[in-house]
């Protein structure tokens, strides 16, 4: 079983990276690997509750992150500094990731076989 990490680090909607990253991670769930998902930097905004982008014409995909668990993706983390520096708390998020400190992020990254950055 390979340790694979998917990192969401760009804000949603401004570019498609976050949405296509979500498509990728949902597929990964079918492969029975040791998958971790990390939200860091502006990537934390992808799971912010109550976003209203209806005036942009772009599909609102943030609620779809709730499907991760149903796809057997259970290791979900958020970088504390990234979250707090954007004024976010756990209750502001559409899912409940585990809050993780920067040094633990570094350690976890060292253990991975491969990464996907979105």
């Amino acid at each position: 079983m390979a340790k694979l990490m998917v990192v969401f680090r760009t804000s949603p909607y401004g570019t498609i990276y976050s949405f296509e990253g979500l498509e990728n991670v949902l597929i990964m769930g079918a492969y029975d690997q040791d998958v971790s998902v990390l939200f860091i930097d502006d990537g934390v905004l992808a799971i912010k509750k109550g976003m209203d982008n209806s005036s942009t014409g772009i599909k609102d995909f943030s609620p779809t992150f709730r499907a991760l668990e149903a796809y057997d993706i259970e290791k979900i983390f958020i970088d504390r500094t990234s979250m707090e520096s954007r004024g976010l708390k756990l209750e502001d998020l559409v899912i409940e990731p585990e809050i993780i400190e920067a040094d633990a992020v570094e350690k976890m990254m060292e253990e991975q076989k491969n990464f996907f950055m979105f």
């Binding site: 390979a2 694979l4 498609i16 990276y17 296509e20 498509e23 990728n24 597929i27 990964m28 079918a30 492969y31 690997q33 076989k113 491969n114 990464f115 996907f116 950055m117």
Partner: protein, 119 residues
């Protein structure tokens, strides 16, 4: 070493595809193996045979086609990303194949290093 390449930017706008191509050539020259090259996001636009750059510039699609066919490397264009960008069997060049995202996961499992080229 077994490499996998992931390219997520389109041609010409960003250097990512050029860098990936140079990386692939250098890795092969050093005797490394490239298991698969996967194009995702705007990266799928590298596969269109409709691109027609000026004659004194490099032809990015033809570079990939040549690399793929002469080294027998699997070059995959993500179907979901391709469909929303107008890339299909009518426009895809020789050497590229349209495939599912599962082939990217498989690549991450099998490759010693998955190297991503992006903005």
């Amino acid at each position: 070493m077994k490499f996998g390449l992931l390219i997520t930017e389109g041609p010409y706008q960003h250097e990512a595809s050029d860098s990936a191509y140079q990386f692939a050539k250098a890795a092969l020259a050093k005797g490394h193996e490239i298991l698969r090259i996967f194009f995702y996001s705007d990266g799928v636009l590298n596969s269109t045979k409709l691109m027609d750059p000026q004659a004194d510039d490099r032809h990015i699609q033809k570079q990939w086609t040549e690399l793929s066919t002469s080294n027998n490397i699997d070059v995959i264009v993500c179907v979901a990303a391709a469909k929303r960008r107008g890339i299909n069997d009518d426009v895809i060049a020789d050497g590229f194949k349209i495939g599912g995202l599962g082939m990217l996961t498989e690549l991450a499992i099998e490759a010693d290093r998955l190297v991503e080229f992006r903005a």
